[in-house]
Every structure is written in C-alpha cells, then in structure tokens.
C-alpha cells in the first residue's frame, strides 16, 4: 500500500499578543496514513488534535515541518486532496441536502447536472436519498452529520479529516454512524484521519490508533487494530477489542478523578 499522506516533523506554535512565549501546540509530529487506511487520533483535551487536523488540511500554516499528500506538498486548503468533516455539522440551512452535499463540487466549478448526480450517489450510499430535497433543519442531528460526511466524500479526496465529527451525537446514533462509516470507507477505499475522544469509537473504526501526549502534542503510542473491515457491532464484544481498549485507557494516564470523563 502506498502512502496517502506523510507528515514530517510537523510543529505548530501559536503566538499570542502580549505573551513572550509561544504556545507549542504540536512538537515535531511524524505521521503517515496509507491509502485506504483509517487512523484515529486520541488524546487529552487541549493536546493539539484539532491543530494537527487543521494543519494537515491546510487551514493552519505549520511553524516548521511539512505535509505531503500523494507525494506533493500541501500549502493551503485543497478540498480535492484533503476534505474536512467538522464537529459542528456546518450545513447551510438555506440549501437542501443534495445542494449541501454538492457544495464543494459547485465551488470546484462542476456543472449542476453532474454535481447533483454525484451528490445523489453519496446520499444513496448514506441511505439518505429520500431526504435529498429536505432542508437540514428538517432532519435529525445524526442525519445532518451523515450529510456532512457525504459532502466530504463527494469530493473524492485522497484524505478525509474528521475532527470529533460525532461528538455532539448520542452514543447509539454515534455507533450506528460509526458502523456506516466503516462500511462506506472500506467500500470506497478512503483514507482518513479521525479525531475522537471516545475510546470505543477510536478502536472500533481504526486500522491504527495514535495516542497524543498532553501539550505539547507528541505521539505517545501507536496501536494497530488488526481486525478486518468493515466491522460490525459484534467486534465491540470481542476479547481483542476489550484488550486494546483497556490498554489505551491505561496509556491515556488520566488523573484518577478524571477517568470517567476520558471515555465519554
């Protein structure tokens, strides 16, 4: 398998006005994602997960280091190479669901007929085609987030960047969408970096889990989840899942009082 993305010694510092020392959000991160691989990133709040994702997607310029997608350096946002699914769905309420899915294609200058056809395909994949002409406010939060995923997939990007995309959803909806994502990403051979604060989600979705340290963000550990995809809920009850999950839980090394909060 070839590499979809290579991140080399990536550092990001935030300089704040009237503060002499910059905040080191990321410190020399090395990371790669293979074609078709789904990598999840987990780590304590404020450790730089969003910064990492936004930088890889070109929304933040690195202080040092480089990002290569499919062999060429990424210097700014390029939705055909790296596409975002944000935590807040950020659908446009004045557009219906197909138009929302087709948004990136419209921005890319693709004509209405072909972009609508491509958007409809993605909605079908998400089993949302019968809602195509509804507006975001008329469907549930879970459906809205699936539309946001479809909007990213419609770009057919080399890498999908997902920053706690299902964080606002209830556990049951989240697992259902997780299984859906596992199915579609496997089917379409999509590469993805997926930030989550849910241990279950991290293990369930990933080919590989990356654990970040508290600030400055560095890679603490990588764990391979050697289980064929797509996965079903049954995987959640297997010995292997439980072992990896408890290993990660121990590695997160949260103060005892915060333990409950770590996996919610």
């Amino acid at each position: 398998m070839s590499q979809a993305v290579i991140v080399d010694k990536l550092s990001v510092h935030y300089t704040i006005e009237q503060q002499p020392e910059p905040i080191v959000a990321l410190d020399e991160i090395d990371l790669s994602v293979k074609k078709g691989e789904l990598v999840t990133i987990i780590g304590p709040s404020g450790c730089g997960k969003s910064t990492l994702l936004h930088t890889i997607g070109g929304l933040i310029s690195p202080t040092s280091g480089s990002i290569h997608i499919d062999g060429t350096p990424l210097l700014g946002p390029d939705p055909k190479r790296a596409t975002f699914v944000f935590q807040e769905y950020t659908l446009l309420p004045w557009k219906n669901l197909v138009e929302n899915v087709a948004l990136g294609l419209k921005f890319a200058g693709i004509d209405r007929a072909s972009r609508t056809a491509r958007a409809m395909e993605q909605l079908k994949l998400m089993r949302l085609e019968q809602y195509a002409h509804m507006h975001p406010d008329q469907v549930s939060g879970g459906m809205q987030q699936r539309v946001a995923v479809a909007r990213a997939l419609a770009m057919e990007p080399q890498l999908i960047l997902m920053d706690e995309p299902f964080g606002a959803l209830d556990e049951q909806t989240r697992m259902m969408i997780g299984a859906e994502i596992s199915r579609i990403f496997t089917l379409e051979n999509r590469s993805a970096l997926f930030v989550t604060h849910s241990l279950d989600e991290a293990v369930f979705l990933a080919d590989r889990v990356i654990l970040l340290t508290t600030r400055p963000g560095r890679i603490k550990e990588e764990i391979i989840v050697d289980e064929p995809r797509p996965r079903t809920r049954k995987f959640l009850e297997t010995r292997r899942f439980v072992d990896i999950r408890s290993h990660l839980f121990a590695s997160l090394d949260v103060p005892a009082g915060d333990r409950e909060g770590a996996d919610t």
Binding site: T83, F86, T90, P93, H135
Partner: protein, 268 residues
C-alpha cells in the same frame, strides 16, 4: 340547541375581543368618526381640517388633475432611482466592510457619524450642485438612504459565523461563490432591514427636497395646494402616499418571508 348557538356567538365575541386587528380597526373608525363630527359641527374650521369624507372626494379630484398624476410619476421615478443607487452602493461598500475588520475600523466610523447627522442640512448643497429638478432629488434621496443601508448590511454580514467562513475556506470557495452561497444568505436579515429603512429614508428625503425647492413631484403639488388653501387636496396627497407606503411595506414583508423560507422552516 339554542344554548349552543349562544355559546358560539359568545365564542365569536371573545375571539373578536382578543384580536389585535379588531381593536386597531375599532380605534381607527372611532377616530375618523370623531374627526368627521368635529369638522362638520364646526368645532374646527373645515377649511383647515376638512372631514375625512371630503378628503376621500379630494382623492378622486386629484386623480383628475393631470399635474397631480404627473407628480406621482416624477416622485416615483426619483424614489426608484435614488433607492437603486443607494442599494447598489450600500451593498458594494457594506459587504466588504462587514467582511474585513481593517476596512470596518477605517471607514465605518465616518459612515456612522453621517448616519446620525440630520441629512436635511445637506439639502441646499445638493440643490446648488444638481439644480432644482429631479437630479437633486435623486442624489439627495440616494445620499440619505445610503447610510442606513450600509449600516444594516455591515451588521448583517457581521452575523456570518466563523464556522461558515472556515467551511468556505476548507472547501475552496471562490470569491463569487463565497459571496452568493454563504455571505449574502447569512446576511439576509440585515440586508432586508437595510433595504426597508433605505427605501423609507429615500422617500422622506425626496419629499422633503420637493417641498423645499422643486418644479415637479408630490412635494411640489403639496406646496401648490397649500398655497391655494386646499387642505383637502393636500391631505388627499398625504393619504395616497401613506397608502402606497403601507402596500409597499406588506409586499416587502412578503418578499422577506419568501426569501427566508428556510428560516421559517427552522421554526416550525
């Protein structure tokens, strides 16, 4: 059976009593009746305050006067052109100011300053620059409306959330699409408020300018009729203008509801 009918009548009365529109209409009719009475009974001189029935007759009279009909056409033209100029300039300047903090810091203060200045003191300058005809009315109307439009457009664009800007950037929106698909729909409430205030402001400015110095238009006809002590015809002009404003307002509201249908959907 009988009791049921009474209950229905009572229910209807309660509904009427609770209806704001019924109260409003009742007060309006009472005022008109009182006005009619004091004018007819000679409590006030009907020359200075003619009764409503006389004004209604005067309305039909002024529509027989070709000068009055022409006056409405002239004022309508002045209003339309001044509003279009103000709207185009207001959007062209308001949107960049709303999007860019630096431009806003640099240029919004003088605009707000002029917004709060009584525009009437500039009127003589417009008459000197553009003459006594329609040009000065158009320019002065556009000038008066512009500040209201810019102020509201800047406020509307300010409603654009950071997450939508980020969405546009992440999905590579070209400027044209950024404006049409994201900025303007987000700013519609402010844009509508600006257009409505601007339209009213332009109408007020055009009429004041015509009253001040002109050779045509509704304001000019008001001057002619008052000079002839035709209070009835003057009030007839006022009534027609007020009616047109009310009609325009409800059309505007309808348009706003239509354009913001997605917002209405969100509330159901």
């Amino acid at each position: 059976m009988h009791g049921g009918a009474t209950a229905v009548t009572a229910g209807w009365l309660v509904a009427a009593w609770n209806s704001a529109a019924v109260h409003r209409t009742t007060i309006l009719l009472c005022t008109l009746a009182l006005w009619e009475a004091i004018s007819r009974l000679g409590v006030v001189d009907p020359i200075f305050l003619p009764p409503p029935s006389t004004i209604v007759l005067a309305v039909t009279e002024i529509f027989d006067d070709p000068r009055a009909v022409a006056a409405f056409r002239v004022t309508g033209l002045e209003l339309g052109l001044s509003f279009v100029i103000a709207a185009v300039l207001g959007l062209a300047i308001g949107i960049p100011l709303g999007l860019n903090r630096f431009l806003r810091d640099a240029f919004l203060p003088p605009i707000l300053f002029l917004l709060s200045t009584p525009k009437a003191i500039f009127l003589p300058i417009f008459l000197i620059l553009f003459g006594i005809g329609v040009d000065s009315k158009i320019a002065y109307g556009a000038f008066s409306a512009f500040f209201y439009i810019v102020d509201n457009v800047v406020g509307g664009v300010g409603l654009l959330e950071a997450k939508r800007r980020r969405l546009a950037r992440a999905f590579g929106a070209p400027l044209r699409h950024y404006l049409v698909d994201i900025v303007i729909p987000s700013a519609l409430p402010g844009i509508f408020a600006g257009m409505w205030h601007g339209l009213r402001q332009a109408l007020a400015a055009v009429l004041v300018a015509e009253l001040f110095a002109s050779d045509s238009g509704v304001g000019y006809m008001v001057r002619i009729y008052t000079n002839q002590f035709r209070t009835d015809k003057t009030l007839a002009l006022v009534a027609v203008v007020s009616l047109l404003v009310i009609v325009a307002g409800s059309l505007f509201n309808r348009l706003e509801v239509r354009m913001n249908r997605w917002r209405a959907v969100a509330h159901t």
